[in-house]
Amino acid sequence: MRYLLVEDNVKLAAAIMDRLTMDGHVVDHADKIGVAEDFVSTAEYDMILLDIMLPDGDGREFLSNHRSRQDETPVIVLTARSEVSDRVGVLDLGADDYITKPFDFSELEARCRAVWRRQSGGVTNAKRFGDVIFDSLAGTLNVGSQTVSLRNKELRLLEIFFGAPEVIFSKTKLVDRLFPYDEDVSENAIEVYVGRLRRHIASSSVQIITVRGLGYRLSLV
C-alpha cells in the first residue's frame, strides 16, 4: 500500500516510515501542509496519515480542503491531544478515523483495514495463488466452489503468506505481526492458526509447509 505521512516531528516520522516500510508499504513523508498538498496533487495514495499540529497550519484545514476537492483518499488523523477534545471536528471534517499517539502498529493496521473495507463497499480485492482466491477485505477464501469466512487472526496470517508466497516466515515474526505487544502469546499459538488454515485449504493446490527450525512458507503442491 502507498501511504502519505503528514507529520512535522522528524524523528517520529522517520520511525513510522521505517516501520511501515518493514511491512512492505511505500511511504512518502510531508512535514508541512504545503508539501502534503504537492504530494496529493501529483500522486495517488491508499491512505493519508495526518497529524493535527503542523508548523504551517492546522491539519484540520488540510482535511477540509482535501474533502472539498472531492478527493476520496481515506484519511486517518494521528492525534496527540486528548480524545475528548479532538473527537469533535476531525470526524465531522471528513476524517475516516483517528488514532491517538503513541499507537500500536497493529492497531493502525487494523484501523486502516477497517477504513478500506468500509470504503471498498463490496468491491473485491481478491488475490489468486494456485486455485485459491483470497479476498483480504471481505475476509473470504474460495477453494473451488467453496467459500470460507475467515476469523481475524486467520485472515491476518493468510494476508502475510499471500503477500509473499514461497517466503519463509519465522514463528517469532508471525507472532509479532499477529498479536499486540502487550499480550504474552507463546509461539505455539501460531501453530493453532496455521493448523486451521491448513484445514481450510486442504483440498486445494496450495499448502503451508513447515520448514524445520525456520518457520513456514506458502507453496504450491
Binding site: L12, M22, R87, P102
Partner: protein, 461 residues
C-alpha cells in the same frame, strides 16, 4: 449546582420598610390634624350657642320698680338643645350680687371693660363644663348696674362627637396607611425588577455562553453590568488557556512517547535473542502504560473541566453506543473479540455527548482489555423506571467482590489486573461523568456466567 452568596440586607426590604415608616408617620399626622380641627370646630359652635343663649338672657334684663328683673326666655335654654342629656346651668348677677340661677356656679372673673364675653372651661357638680359670661350695663337712677349672665353646659355631647370623629379619623388614617403601603410595595417591586431580570438572563445562559450582557438596564445598574461583562471576558480567556494547556501538555508528552514506541517496535523486529526481545517487549508495555496513564489523566482533566460546563443536548444513547462501538471495532478485531450492541431506541437523555462517549469509551476499552481472547463484549441499552441504563458486559474474570466499593476511586485497580495495562482512571472518569448528569454507576458481576458488568444509569430528560 447550588450558588451560595454572602447576602447582607435587601434593597427591597429596606425600601419597603422605609416607605411603610413614612406612610405610618403621614397617617398619624393626618389623624392628629383631623382631631385638632374637629375639636376646634366643636368648641367654636358650642361657644357660639352659649354666647347666643347668654346674650338673649341678658337682653331680657331690665330695671323695673327699682330692681333688676331678668325674664329668662324659653328659647335661651332650648337653643342649647336637648339632643343629648347635657345639662345646662345659668346664673345671673347684678353688680356682683346673685339674682337667680345656680348659686354655686363659679363666677367668671369680670373681664376687661371692652370685652363683652369671656369663656372658660371648668368643673361644676363633678362634670366638665364650658361656660360663657356676658355682661351688660343698665342705667339706673342710682347709677349704672352691671348685669352679668353666665351660661354653662356640660361637655358630654361634645366629647361624644369628638369620639365619633376620632373613630372616623382613625379609619381614615388607617386606610391611608394601607393604600400608601400597597403603592409603596408595588413601586419597590418595579424598582427592583431590572435586577431580577438581569439575574434571570444571566442564570438562563448556557454554561459555554460567555457573551457580554446585551439586555438594556437602568443607568444605576450599568457599572454592575460592565463589571460582569469584563469578568466574563477574563473567564473566557482563562478557560481557553486551560484548554490549550491541556492540549499542549498532551502533545508534549505523547509525541516523544510515540517516537520511543515506534523505535522499540522496529528494534523488536530486528533482534533475535529471546532475552533482548523480552526486554524490548517489557519496554513497549511500559511505554503503553505511561501513554495510557497520560491519556487518562488528560481525559480526566478534560472531564473535570467539562463537567462544570456541560454542553447539553438531547442524546439517543443507542446511537451514541453504536458510534462508540464502531470506533472500538478494529481494536476488538485484533483480539478476535466481538462487540455486540442490543436494545431499542430509549427515551432521550439530556447530556454532554462527548463526555458520555468518553466515559463509555473508557469502559469498553477496559472490557476489551480484561476479557479473554476471542470472547464477546456486549452493550445493552434499556430502561429501568425513569432511568436509561447502558450496561457493558464482558466475559473476563469479573470484579473481586471486595474491590467493588473502592474501584471508582482514583488510581485504584482491581486485584486481578496485574497483567493488563491501565492507570485505573477509567472507572473514575465514567463515574464522574455519570454523576455530572445526575445518574450513577453500578458495578456488578454477571449472574450466570463469569464476567463483569458496568451499568450507567442516566435520568430520562
Amino acid at each position: 449546582m447550588t450558588a451560595i452568596s454572602n447576602v447582607s440586607g435587601s434593597i427591597r426590604r429596606r425600601l419597603t420598610l422605609q416607605l411603610l415608616g413614612i406612610a405610618a408617620v403621614l397617617a398619624a399626622l393626618l389623624f392628629i390634624m383631623v382631631m385638632t380641627f374637629a375639636k376646634q370646630v366643636a368648641e367654636e359652635s358650642q361657644d357660639n350657642i352659649l354666647t347666643a343663649s347668654a346674650t338673649s338672657i341678658l337682653d331680657s334684663a331690665a330695671i323695673q320698680g327699682g330692681g333688676v328683673t331678668v325674664d329668662i326666655p324659653y328659647s335661651a335654654l332650648s337653643m342649647l338643645g336637648n339632643v343629648s342629656d347635657d345639662r345646662v346651668f345659668y346664673r345671673v348677677t347684678a353688680n356682683g350680687k346673685f339674682l337667680t340661677g345656680y348659686k354655686g356656679l363659679s363666677v367668671t372673673k369680670p373681664g376687661r371693660k371692652q370685652e363683652r364675653h369671656s369663656f372658660m372651661t371648668s368643673h361644676y357638680m363633678g362634670e366638665s363644663i364650658r361656660m360663657v359670661s356676658a355682661t351688660r350695663r343698665l342705667s339706673y337712677a342710682s347709677g349704672p348696674v352691671e348685669v352679668t349672665v353666665s351660661v354653662a353646659q356640660t361637655l358630654k355631647r361634645q366629647t361624644e362627637t369628638l369620639e365619633r370623629i376620632s373613630t372616623s379619623a382613625f379609619y381614615l388614617g388607617f386606610g391611608f396607611f394601607i393604600a400608601a403601603a400597597i403603592l409603596g410595595v408595588l413601586s419597590v417591586q418595579s424598582a427592583v425588577k431590572p435586577i431580577q431580570i438581569l439575574a434571570d438572563s444571566v442564570s438562563r445562559r448556557g454554561p459555554q455562553d460567555l457573551r457580554a450582557v446585551q439586555a438594556p438596564v437602568p443607568g444605576e445598574m450599568a457599572p454592575l453590568v460592565v463589571a460582569l461583562n469584563r469578568f466574563m471576558e477574563r473567564l473566557k480567556k482563562s478557560l481557553t488557556r486551560s484548554e490549550e494547556f491541556i492540549a499542549e501538555a498532551a502533545h508534549r508528552v505523547r509525541t516523544p512517547l510515540a517516537v520511543l514506541r515506534t523505535q522499540a517496535e522496529i528494534a523488536l523486529r530486528r533482534v533475535e535473542r529471546p532475552e533482548n526481545r523480552a526486554s524490548l517487549k517489557e519496554m513497549i508495555r511500559a511505554i503503553d502504560e505511561s501513554s495510557r496513564a497520560a491519556g487518562q489523566l488528560l481525559d480526566h482533566a478534560m472531564v473535570s473541566f467539562r463537567t462544570d460546563h456541560l454542553e447539553v443536548t438531547k442524546i439517543d444513547l443507542l446511537e451514541l453506543g453504536r458510534e462508540t462501538l464502531e470506533r472500538h471495532q478494529p481494536l476488538a478485531e485484533m483480539q478476535d473479540k466481538t462487540l455486540i450492541i442490543e436494545g431499542e431506541t430509549p427515551p432521550p437523555v439530556s447530556g454532554d455527548a462527548i463526555l458520555i462517549q468518553n466515559a463509555l469509551s473508557n469502559i469498553i476499552d477496559n472490557a476489551i482489555k480484561y476479557a479473554p481472547f476471542g470472547e464477546d463484549i456486549k452493550i445493552r441499552i434499556g430502561t429501568e423506571g425513569h432511568w436509561v441504563v447502558v450496561s457493558v458486559f464482558d466475559q473476563g474474570e469479573g470484579f473481586n467482590e471486595t474491590d467493588i466499593k473502592h474501584l471508582t476511586t482514583r488510581f485504584s485497580r482491581g486485584g486481578n489486573a496485574e497483567n493488563t495495562i491501565g492507570s485505573g482512571l477509567g472507572l473514575t472518569i465514567a463515574e464522574e461523568v455519570v454523576q455530572a448528569h445526575g445518574g450513577y454507576l453500578k458495578l456488578s458481576n454477571r449472574k450466570n456466567v463469569t464476567g463483569a458488568c458496568v451499568s450507567f444509569y442516566f435520568p430520562q430528560s
